[in-house]
Symmetry: D2
Subunit: 305 residues, 4 copies
């Protein structure tokens, strides 16, 4: 299978004030991402509050992103849920509407304790979209599935034909590299932590990744890869350090799902609130965050429309 090069964005899901999904801004959203160098979107994932959406909302969002996606812009649909039957149905839907690929994280409940359980879960979902590449989304901090990823590759190899790779959102660049080395790079290892892109490039020869802060800081994150490929380590470091400055700010306000989504409003694309049980930022918090972002000159470097 072809590997992804460049950065895919994990978009937020827009909501109306009354808490219902707002499909309106997606066209503008997709264009903006494309313009700032992103290669596609990984929708209905953690940044998109996918687990907090109904089945119906997830399908409508997938359709909206398909309708909005510019030429050559990949739409990957996260279909993971606690109910494997529902996930399989979402996979079938994704294939039917022409999505580029699908993905799923391990369910947070029941907690997956063994590779065998995870493979069976993946298998039953992936078979729903046999012509699409399937990406396992490894984010154990969210679901407790602290399992060895090389063993996962060994287990799916030869068993899940459309298994394409891993969105790797975990701190072990050691394991990331070991996965990349598996059968000389048989599987696509998408780095999934914007704060350490440079690390994946140096250690692992990464070519692609999926970002969450790419929603508003995509130009600089794309710039890290470009600088590295041009042999300009100093520029790559400067941009990586800037990306960490931005992430430092959102960490003061409950992270990307809450604070990152609010930054979208500050750069001109109001996406509304988060669903319960996320605690939405107050106006005071928004004001304070804005000042912190100004102090690092974020608004001069952020994504543009």
């Amino acid at each position: 299978m072809d590997k992804i090069t460049g950065l895919i964005d994990a978009p937020f899901t827009p909501f109306y004030e009354n808490g219902e999904v707002n499909y309106g801004p997606i066209g503008k959203y997709a264009s903006m991402l494309k313009k700032n160098g992103l290669k596609g979107v990984f929708i209905n994932g953690s940044s998109g509050e996918g687990y907090m959406l109904t089945e119906d909302e997830r399908m409508k969002l997938a359709e909206a992103w398909m309708a909005a996606a510019p030429e050559g812009f990949k739409v990957i649909v996260h279909v993971g849920s606690c109910c494997v039957k529902s996930s399989k149905m979402l996979a079938e839907h994704a294939e039917k509407i022409g999505a580029w690929g699908i993905g799923a994280m391990a369910p947070p409940f029941p907690k997956i304790g063994r590779i065998e359980e995870l493979v069976k879960y993946i298998e039953e979902i992936a078979v729903g979209a046999p012509r699409l590449p399937f990406y396992y989304y490894h984010i154990p901090a969210f679901n407790g599935a602290y399992l060895p990823m090389v063993e996962l590759l060994e287990a799916v190899d030869g068993r899940v034909p459309n298994f394409a790779g891993i969105k790797y959102t975990y701190e072990s660049i050691y394991e990331y590299n070991q996965c990349r080395l598996y059968k000389n790079g048989k599987y696509d290892m998408l780095h999934g932590q914007d704060e350490t892109i440079l690390s994946s490039l140096a250690m692992g020869g990464a070519r692609g990744g999926i970002g969450g802060t790419t929603n508003y800081n995509g130009r600089e994150l794309v710039g890290i890869i470009e600088a590295w490929q041009a042999g300009d380590i100093e520029t790559a470091r400067e941009k990586q350090n800037f990306a960490q400055d931005v992430i430092n700010v959102i960490c003061h306000y409950r992270g990307n799902i809450v604070a990152g989504k609010r930054i979208m409003k500050l750069i001109g694309l109001d996406l509304g609130k988060n669903r319960t049980p996320f605690r939405n930022m107050t106006q005071d918090e928004e004001d304070a965050m804005k000042r912190e972002l100004e102090a690092i000159h974020f608004f001069e470097r952020c994504n543009k429309f």
Copy 2:
């Protein structure tokens, strides 16, 4: 609000061999539970694989249990999910079909880290069934919500009018007792660990609970309460020790959801498999478990039809 006395059962969900829900056995199931002394059911919870079911399946199961419930047999519907919008809808449905009450555990994702988040989650669901008592299902081993329950009672008191109490499935009999003492027993504290019912009776003066092994060992578990109330501590202990013997066995085969469900087949009510990612027992495991159960004379003391 009235408090529950006696034991409520958390039933398993029957599946066909092809993995679809089998609503057929529910009538027989309800009668059997009633006959063995259970006072009602807490459906679509962890024993019932509620999180592994689609919204539609959950509603149909609730309807099937309502149709099957004998006179005076309480049907409490677990409506918790990662999507609060879906949970509220399930609450509305439960009230519409005449369920006795509703309940919800904390969502496993996003992980609840603060009482404030949990209260908001509860509030948005409970409002969907304003005339039904709402029970919070505290089972932090399943969702990571290790929060102080006395603080939860303080937070819901005066804010969530139909909050009735807690199904307490956690080891701290200290905290259980503190909750029971809150405002002289304002809230209903349903003990939720069959291995320590006697403990809740002695320490906390418990009057009711919700069991998982009551599905097949309900007579003995009901007997613990009866013996205690009759002042017969020796009989209560013997039955509690027997209940632990049974639980020791299921712990050898991945616990109640997997092994307990299989015991139902052994006592005459085949409920089929578990959904992925649960690992179903092999025939060899079933045979071995049967021998272990015979060794403790389980089949002489188990629930009868």
Copy 3:
């Protein structure tokens, strides 16, 4: 081996203002404990900051307690440490000075991950005091040794001749009971959580325990056992609830090691500070704690000199 009946106290270690151990108060301390119904002491354990003491200090404390112990008052010396060689030496010393018994918790580093490791650790220590009963101190919250205790009993049985039982400081009254049932009560199961003594009496038929809040609340805790044995469940419950009231207070001030030690000053036996890294209470905190204790009429029911 004989089993312990009644409650053993885990005493605090007195310090001078300059941080050195103060052996002075031990005589008065021992007399007071005896007078209030305690049957002995478990010294140099967690309440005694044993791990925060030098080898030399631990031996001198053992000698001081031996010198102070009234007739028939048991002195059990906790000899556990990260260095098994040091622990064995402390065991030899305990036997040499005539201590009644020894004990050790699992070392916090390296973290014990297997029963086999724990048994070897116990074995190498216990052999240093072959004529004394050895108690394993199970307190996994302090050292991460979340191991199955029935398996420990199976592993030491026939291998560690002087293994006497377990000081069980963990919430699973289920496991506690299973250990008690092992070979019809072969090993001595000392309950180790003052907040749930009644639970161990009802469920497990416990006869003894080791307390930390017995230092200042021993009369009431002894009273729980007496009331239970007299068949007076209401009095037992009232005293247990009072014990929980007291524990609620110390939990507001960093628990027994810090707050409990300060209570000793308030009842007339100033034992000084805790060693770093414990954070000692401020005067304001002490004042606030005193008010909380007065509100529950603690000073009318506490230990007397």
Copy 4:
């Protein structure tokens, strides 16, 4: 303060068959390390089983390393323990015998939960050796001290005059980089994971580190730094991948403390066993490990005498 450049080794502690410390091999050990490019040693740390040694053994080992250290070879003494009084005494001893520096990890018991507790612990130790640089050894997997390291730097800055930096043995290269950026590199950030040296060089501009597998694979690890500095990223990656191959092998046999120590025997420096509760490798395990190492041509690239 000057920063460390190059790699410092964390040596194992030699034991006789009877379990006593064997000071004999230290001279040969030090020469070998120097010859293979190491710049010094960090003794009595986790690789050296420092916590499993008596105070007396720790001091004698420090003296033996001082006597053996070649010209310009740094001896840093790990003095951390659960007893801050003992640690301070070890710090005084280290300064007295002319050690180059000292270090301490957070105590595993009591578990440190706040920066304030950690700073006080560090302060009381560091004052024992006021003329030596103090390194905090951050290895939370061993002691549960998952604390934010930038906050530690802020807290010690201006308060602990001889605080020099952090030996950072944790996976967050993001946090590592943030620490390095603190006040333009005020503190020395020693990378402490041999599997990701390249990552620290690329992301953080690291100049030095402390290794555990440097004991036997030091030439290749030093080679990563040299290749990076020469701009030869391909060689750096090849050597880093080889280092991961070696680490993959030791992970099959309980890690560096157990398996790494046994490798020393295989390359010609038998250091004996580990202390209980470590489980020593069997002969079969040793043979199997040797075959795995041969398969990756380890013995052609390992450290030489």
